[in-house]
C-alpha cells in the first residue's frame, strides 16, 4: 500500500444540484496529488458505496446542502458496514447546522467541513486520516 495515491470519491447524494463546493473540493484534492472520482449528481447511497468499493477508495466525501444530511450519512455508513467496508473514511460538507455535527460524528462520520473551509485544511486532514487508516491495516 505504501506510496499508493490517496483515492477519494466525491459524491452528491440525493436530488440537490448545487455542486460548486463538491467540484471545487474535488479539483483541489486532485491538484494535491490525489485520485479523485466525482460521481456527478443524484447518486443514491447504494451507488456511492458501490463505487467506493469497486474503486477501492480510501475515503468518501459527501456534499449535501438540502438539509437531508442526517438521512444520507446514516445510510452510507450503514451500507459500508453491511458490505464490510466500514474502514472507508466518510467525511462531508455543505450547509449543515453546527448542532447536527455531533450527531453525524457519532454515527461514524470522521469530519464535517462547513462553508468557508479552506481546501488546504481538507487536504491536510484527509492525508492524516488516510495515513492512520493504512497504518491500521498493517
Amino acid at each position: 500500500m505504501e506510496g499508493r495515491k490517496i483515492r477519494v470519491i466525491i459524491a452528491k447524494p440525493g436530488l440537490d444540484g448545487h455542486d460548486r463546493g463538491a467540484k471545487v473540493v474535488a479539483r483541489a484534492l486532485r491538484d494535491a496529488g490525489m485520485e479523485v472520482i466525482y460521481t456527478g449528481l443524484r447518486q443514491s447511497p447504494e451507488q456511492i458505496v458501490e463505487t467506493a468499493i469497486q474503486e477501492d477508495a480510501d475515503a468518501i466525501g459527501l456534499s449535501i446542502l438540502s438539509g437531508a444530511h442526517e438521512y444520507y450519512f446514516r445510510r452510507v455508513i450503514e451500507l459500508l458496514k453491511e458490505k464490510n467496508a466500514a474502514d472507508i473514511i466518510v467525511f462531508g460538507g455543505g450547509v449543515i447546522p453546527e448542532e447536527d455535527i455531533p450527531i453525524l460524528l457519532n454515527m461514524g462520520v470522521k469530519a464535517v467541513f462547513g462553508p468557508g473551509t479552506s481546501t488546504k485544511d481538507i487536504i491536510e486532514w484527509l492525508k492524516g486520516a488516510v495515513e492512520s487508516r493504512r497504518f491500521a491495516e498493517v
Binding site: L15, D16, H18, R20, G40, G67, A68, Y71, V95, G114
Partner: protein
C-alpha cells in the same frame, strides 16, 4: 460625448497627473500591484472622459424607458412604483407554506415566490424512493392539484402575482396554478406571475433537469405558445443568470451565458412559428447581485443594452416592449458566511442597493442565516426590511439611474458588454448554447472561474471578512434555526395515498394516455393535455412519468 480639444487637454493633464502618481507611489505604495473587480476585470486608478470618449449619449444610453434601455425599461422607474419585494419562501407542507405567505403579505410583501422541494422540482412524487429524506426540505412538497389548492388557500390569485421557481416540470405547476385560479373564479387571463421554466441553466448550473435538451426545449416553447393565447399576463420564462453566478461564474459570464440561453429560447420559439414581437414581451430575466457593488450596477445596465440590441438586430424585433430586458434580482447566497452571520445583513444590504441602482423590477434579499440552515421568520423579516429601508429611506429611488455618467460606471458597462459579446460569439461558433452545453464548454468556463475564486480566497488575495480576515476565536451563540419536522414527509405521503384512492382513477388513466399521445406528436402543444391531467388530480410524478417514458432522461456530462 466629449469634444476633441477637451480630450486633448485632459490627456495633457493626465501626463502631469501620472508624474504626481509616480512620486506618491514611491512614498506610499498602493495596497496591491493591480486592482480588479471581483470578476477579474482590471480597474484603473481613476476614470476620466478618455475612458468613454467614443460614447454617444443618445445611441448608448438615451433616456430611461428608451432604446437601448441602458438607463432602465421604465421612464419613471421607482418614482412611479417601487420594485416588487418578492421573498422566495416555502418549506414543509402546503399548509405551512400558506401560513408563511400570509405572514409575508401582512408584512407588506407585494408578490409571492414559491420554493418547491427537490422531488417536486425533479418530477417525483413524495413517496418515490429517491425522494426519501428530501420531502419538504428546501421548499414545499407539491404532488397534485390538491396540494396546490392548500398552498393558495385564502390568497386571491387575481390580486397577488406569483413567481414559481420551477423548471423541468414548469408546465405542470403552471397548469396547477391555472386550475386553482379557476376554482377561485379567477380566469387564466387575469393571472399574473412568472414561472422560471429555464431548463438550459439547469444543465449548466443547477442540476434539476429531467428530460434531454430537445424535448425540454419543446416544453418551454409549448408554454410560450399556450400562454400567448390563454395567459397573456404571465411571464412564461425567467432566464436565469442567478444560478450560473452561484455556481461560480464571473459577472461577464453571468451576462453572456444568460443572454446566450435567451437567444436559444427565442431561436427555438421562432422556429416553432411564434412571433418574437409577441412572446418577446413575456420573457423575463433573473440575475444575481454579488459583492462588487459598482461592477454589479454596470452589469445590469450592460445586460439590458445588450439584450435590446440582440432582439432588435438579431431577431428583427420592432416592438419595443419585446426588446426590454426586465429582471428579478436575488442577492448572492454564495457570498453569505457561516462565520459571524450578522455580517451577512450588511452584505445583503449592499447587494440589494446595487440591484436597485441597476434598475431591477423585483428583488429577493437573502436572510442572514442562510449559510447555516433554512431562514427563520425573524431573519426573513430583516431581509425584507432591508429592501424597505432602501426603498423608503435611502433616497436612491428618487431619480432614475443616478449613477449614469460616472466615467467608471459607463466604462465598466461598456467593458462588460464587450466581453459578454465575445462569449456569445464563441458560443455561436460552437453551434449555439445547446451544443456548447453538451460539449461541456459552458460548465468548464464556470468551474474554472469558481476554482480561481476559491484560490484567491485561500491565498488571501480576496478578503472575506470573518473568514480569512478579522476572524473571531469564539463564534458565540448560534442564531436560532428553522427545522423541517420529519413528520412532514409521513403526512405528505399519507395524503398522497389517500388522494390516489379517492380520485377517479379511470379518468386519470385516460388523461395520461392522451398526454402520451401528445408527447409522441411534436405538432401538438403539450400544455392543454397536462392541464386536463392536472384537473383529474393526476400527480406530478405520474405526469412526468409518462413524459419520462416518451422523452427519456438527461444524463449529465460530468466536467471537472
Amino acid at each position: 460625448m466629449f469634444k476633441d480639444n477637451e480630450l486633448k487637454r485632459i490627456a495633457e493633464a493626465r501626463a502631469q497627473y501620472d508624474e504626481v502618481i509616480k512620486k506618491t507611489i514611491a512614498r506610499h505604495p498602493e495596497r496591491k500591484g493591480t486592482f480588479t473587480t471581483i470578476s477579474g476585470i482590471p480597474v484603473d486608478r481613476a476614470y476620466t472622459p478618455e475612458h468613454i470618449k467614443d460614447m454617444d449619449y443618445l445611441r448608448d444610453l438615451n433616456f430611461p424607458g428608451e432604446y437601448p434601455f441602458t438607463r432602465g425599461v421604465q421612464p419613471t422607474l421607482y418614482r412611479g412604483r417601487l420594485w416588487t419585494m418578492r421573498q422566495y419562501a416555502g418549506f414543509g407542507t402546503a399548509e405551512e407554506s400558506n401560513k408563511r405567505y400570509r405572514y409575508l403579505l401582512e408584512q407588506g410583501q407585494t408578490g409571492l415566490s414559491v420554493a418547491f422541494d427537490l422531488p417536486t422540482q425533479i418530477g417525483y412524487d413524495s413517496d418515490f424512493p429517491l425522494a426519501q429524506g428530501e420531502v419538504g426540505k428546501v421548499g414545499v412538497a407539491i404532488d397534485s392539484l390538491e396540494d396546490m389548492e392548500h398552498l393558495f388557500e385564502g390568497i386571491p390569485l387575481d390580486k397577488v402575482s406569483t413567481s414559481m421557481t420551477i423548471n423541468a416540470p414548469a408546465a405542470i405547476l403552471l397548469a396547477m396554478y391555472i386550475a386553482v385560479g379557476e376554482k377561485q373564479g379567477v380566469s387564466a387571463e387575469q393571472l399574473s406571475g412568472t414561472i422560471q421554466n429555464d431548463i438550459l441553466k439547469e444543465y449548466i448550473a443547477r442540476g434539476t433537469y429531467i428530460f434531454p435538451p430537445a424535448p425540454s426545449m419543446r416544453l418551454v416553447v409549448d408554454t410560450f405558445a399556450f400562454c400567448s393565447e390563454y395567459v397573456p399576463k404571465w411571464n412564461t420564462i425567467s432566464i436565469s443568470g442567478y444560478h450560473i453566478r452561484e455556481a461560480g461564474s464571473t459577472a461577464v459570464q453571468e451576462v453572456a451565458f444568460t443572454l446566450a440561453d435567451g437567444i436559444a429560447y427565442v431561436d427555438a420559439a421562432v422556429k416553432a412559428g411564434l412571433d418574437p414581437n409577441v412572446f418577446g414581451e413575456r420573457l423575463s430575466f433573473f440575475f444575481n447581485s454579488h459583492n462588487d457593488f459598482l461592477e454589479e450596477v454596470a452589469k445590469f445596465r450592460a445586460a439590458r443594452r445588450l439584450w435590446a440590441k440582440i432582439m432588435k438586430d438579431r431577431f428583427g424585433v420592432s416592438n419595443e416592449r419585446a426588446q426590454m430586458l426586465r429582471f428579478h434580482t436575488q442577492t448572492a447566497g454564495c457570498t453569505l458566511t457561516a462565520q459571524q452571520p450578522e455580517n451577512n445583513i450588511v452584505r445583503v444590504a449592499l447587494q440589494a442597493m446595487a440591484a436597485v441602482l441597476g434598475g431591477t423590477q423585483s428583488l429577493h434579499t437573502n436572510s442572514f442565516d442562510e449559510a447555516l440552515a433554512l431562514p427563520t421568520e425573524r431573519s426573513v423579516r430583516i431581509a425584507l426590511r432591508t429592501q424597505q429601508i432602501i426603498g423608503y429611506e435611502s433616497g436612491v429611488t428618487n431619480t432614475v439611474d443616478p449613477l449614469a455618467g460616472s466615467y467608471y460606471i459607463e466604462w465598466l458597462t461598456n467593458e462588460i458588454e464587450r466581453q459578454a459579446q465575445e462569449y456569445i460569439k464563441k458560443i455561436d461558433d460552437l453551434g449555439g448554447m445547446v451544443v456548447a452545453i453538451e460539449k461541456g464548454y459552458v460548465q468548464q468556463q464556470i468551474q474554472d472561474a469558481a476554482y480561481s475564486y476559491q484560490r484567491a480566497v485561500e491565498e488571501g488575495e480576496q478578503i472575506v471578512v470573518g473568514v480569512n480576515k478579522f476572524q473571531i476565536a469564539e463564534e458565540g451563540e448560534r442564531p436560532e434555526i428553522l427545522r423541517v419536522d420529519p413528520k412532514v414527509a409521513e403526512e405528505q405521503i399519507k395524503r398522497l395515498k389517500a388522494l390516489r384512492a379517492r380520485r377517479d382513477n379511470l379518468r386519470v388513466k385516460e388523461t395520461l394516455e392522451l398526454l402520451r399521445e401528445a408527447a409522441r406528436d411534436s405538432s401538438m402543444n403539450l400544455v392543454p393535455r397536462i392541464l386536463d391531467a392536472v384537473k383529474a388530480y393526476a400527480t406530478e410524478g405520474e405526469i412526468c412519468g409518462v413524459l419520462r417514458e416518451e422523452f427519456g432522461e438527461y444524463r449529465e456530462n460530468v466536467v471537472l
